[in-house]
């Protein structure tokens, strides 16, 4: 039932490059959207959809599919680009992002019927609770599918995240792997300055989670870390992935101003060119 997987890290790199191109083109065409985080998580999404998750774009409602819960709805352009790259819908539809009547809402909205979209979300701090509900359900029904949730580092300032974290450990949800996009920035600036979330690994550990860290741009590291996290028994796992906002386009990397800033139309070719010259 599941799709063909790319097992070798070198095969993932060109996929991530194409997904980044889609992110740049769709946001520039929309004239608004969150560029920085969408580029920064592109390698993680590529690894999940092309190597780790059991899913099938030709059967989006397959009951045993793994669930991707995107809690930070603002990186919707990346989710859409990844779903299109996986074949859930034609890539040309990415050019409808944020337009009236589009299935590609500014933040994900299931009511518009986009295949592969698991959750309407965008108000921060919700996704981990939903992921907990899904993971409890899978266990309750004695099904084998897993839940992969994606969170921002700034998002962890929401108290509801920690309610959810407590409950995931209480219910021993070893079928849940959360990932924190640790890019150290949020809209107002550095997370350290806006509201310090450190010591982060210790916080998750204290809440009863198995904690892993990885380089969010090194496919080998991402894949082996997910393998380890999935293998954990009796407790949920979290991967703190070190990423760079805007990754792939050197001139915007790590610049927090690119959190919510769109690519201008006249920057598109320059940015895509930068992807091809990435070291």
């Amino acid at each position: 039932m599941t799709m063909k997987k790319f097992t070798h890290p070198s095969a993932l790199k060109p996929v991530a490059r194409n997904i980044r191109e889609s992110v740049i083109r769709s946001i520039a065409n929309a004239g608004s959207g969150h560029t920085g985080g969408s580029l920064g998580l592109a390698d993680v999404f590529t690894a999940l959809y092309f190597s780790i998750m059991e899913h099938n774009s030709k059967a989006p409602h397959w009951p045993d599919r793994d669930r991707l819960v995107l809690s930070i709805g603002h990186v919707a352009p990346l989710l859409y680009a990844t779903l299109a790259e996986s074949g859930y819908f034609p890539k040309k539809e990415l050019m409808t992002l944020r337009r009236l009547g589009s299935r590609l809402q500014g933040h994900p909205g299931r009511d518009h019927g986009l295949p592969g979209l698991e959750l309407s979300a965008g108000s921060l701090g919700h996704g981990l609770s939903v992921a907990v509900g899904m993971a409890i359900s899978a266990k309750h029904k004695k099904q084998q599918w897993r839940v992969f949730s994606i969170h921002g580092d700034g998002e962890l300032q929401e108290g509801s995240v920690w309610e959810a974290a407590m409950s995931a450990a209480h219910h021993k949800l070893d079928n849940l792997v959360a990932l924190v996009d640790r890019n150290n920035v949020q809209i107002d600036g550095k997370t350290d300055d806006v509201m310090d979330i450190e010591p982060l690994a210790e916080k998750w550990k204290a809440f009863g989670w198995k904690v892993f860290q990885c380089d969010g741009h090194d496919f080998e590291d991402i894949l082996t870390t997910y393998d380890k996290a999935i293998a954990v028994k009796n407790k949920p796992s979290v991967i703190i992935a070190r990423t760079h906002m805007g990754k792939g386009v050197a001139e915007i990397e790590n610049d927090y101003r690119w959190h919510g800033k769109p690519v201008a139309k006249d920057q598109v070719e320059k940015f895509i060119n930068a992807l091809d010259h990435e070291k």
Binding site: R110, V130, V132, G159, S167
Partner: protein, 323 residues
């Protein structure tokens, strides 16, 4: 107290019973016929009578602690995975602590999750203002996709939770109270979601009530008959989607409306009625409810009396309107 309608339905209170018990028994019944029903607890499961379900189906009860926002999100995740979660705690928490989760995780995803709002209204009594939910109707009925039930007695609450689970496909909020109150509709009195109930005929004015206030409305109407005033009484057990037709017909046929609810006068049943009538058939309306104020400690009946949530005040306001 006995009321006879033209279809011979007799409303007789055989024994007082709290609506929360009707909820708990109904939930247990639903759990017995549908294995997908899951109950979520937020610590006060005994107080909200979810312990009945928990005892009958321990494997289908999940404890989430005093963390209502998370419980609402967990409900969404379960509903998205094909289960039917029922998350119940005091209405001040289940409807208002969680409003953002209700809005996005539950209502925007349009999932079949049932939210129980216990201890609604001022009749909660001595616990005081913090625990008296008086704004929950306003909050929940403003949310797209949400259905809002406000049943009038224990038996109707039993039927309402069954309907929420068996007849609905989207999010449902169901509000009920703490205290023993007259149980007068009977398990054979049908509960149709979205349909108002004509509880008593009458053409001089209409009293439209919800929740505990329906009994008070019936008493008021009965007492007014002694003064040769024939008041119609309508029970709105579904605040949303509301039964426009029965309300507009009452306005056309009786010309004057009194509404009664254990809720703020802003945003609740009275607001819903006036929204409909001002567009379709404006008539004089008096809204009886909490006068834009917090509650306080006291015995339930003392508080109901102080804030005019009594048959006596319904009569007084009706007579004023009829002058």
């Amino acid at each position: 107290m006995l009321l006879i309608m033209k279809n011979n339905k007799r409303f007789l209170n055989e024994a007082d019973k709290p609506t929360r018990l009707g909820f708990g028994e109904g939930l247990r019944e639903a759990g017995g016929v549908n294995e997908s029903v899951i109950a979520l607890g937020a610590d006060i499961t005994g107080s909200v009578n979810v312990n009945l379900f928990k005892k009958a189906f321990p494997n289908r009860f999940y404890s989430l602690g005093i963390a209502e926002q998370n419980a609402a999100g967990v409900s969404a995740g379960m509903a998205l995975s094909g289960l039917i979660p029922v998350f119940t705690t005091y209405a001040v928490f289940s409807a208002m602590r969680t409003t953002d989760q209700l809005r996005i995780s539950i209502c925007y995803n349009n999932v079949h999750a049932v939210i129980g709002g216990a201890h609604a209204g001022i009749s909660v009594g001595p616990d005081g203002a913090t625990h008296q939910a008086l704004e929950d109707i306003a909050v929940t009925r403003a949310l797209p996709n949400m259905t809002v039930f406000s049943p009038c007695d224990a038996d109707q609450t039993h039927l309402a939770i069954l309907a929420a689970i068996n007849k609905m496909n989207g999010p449902v909020y169901i509000r009920f109270g703490r205290e023993k109150v007259p149980n007068f509709t009977g398990m054979d009195y049908p509960f149709h979601p979205g349909k108002g109930q004509l509880m008593k005929e009458g053409n001089d004015l209409t009293i439209i009530a919800t929740g505990h206030m329906v009994w008070h409305a019936l008493q008021a109407a009965y007492q007014m008959e002694e003064k040769n005033i024939n008041a119609r009484v309508i029970n709105i057990h579904t605040i949303k989607p509301i039964d426009n037709e029965i309300i507009i017909r009452a306005a056309k046929e009786t010309g004057k409306i009194v509404t009664a609810e254990e809720h703020q006068i802003y945003g609740g049943l009275g607001s819903a009625i006036t929204e409909i009538l001002s567009e379709h058939y404006p008539v004089p309306v008096k809204i009886i409810g909490m006068p834009d104020s917090f509650g306080e400690s006291g015995k339930p009946e003392e508080l109901m009396d102080k804030y005019g949530l009594t048959s006596h005040n319904i009569i007084k306001q009706s007579l004023k309107l009829l002058k």
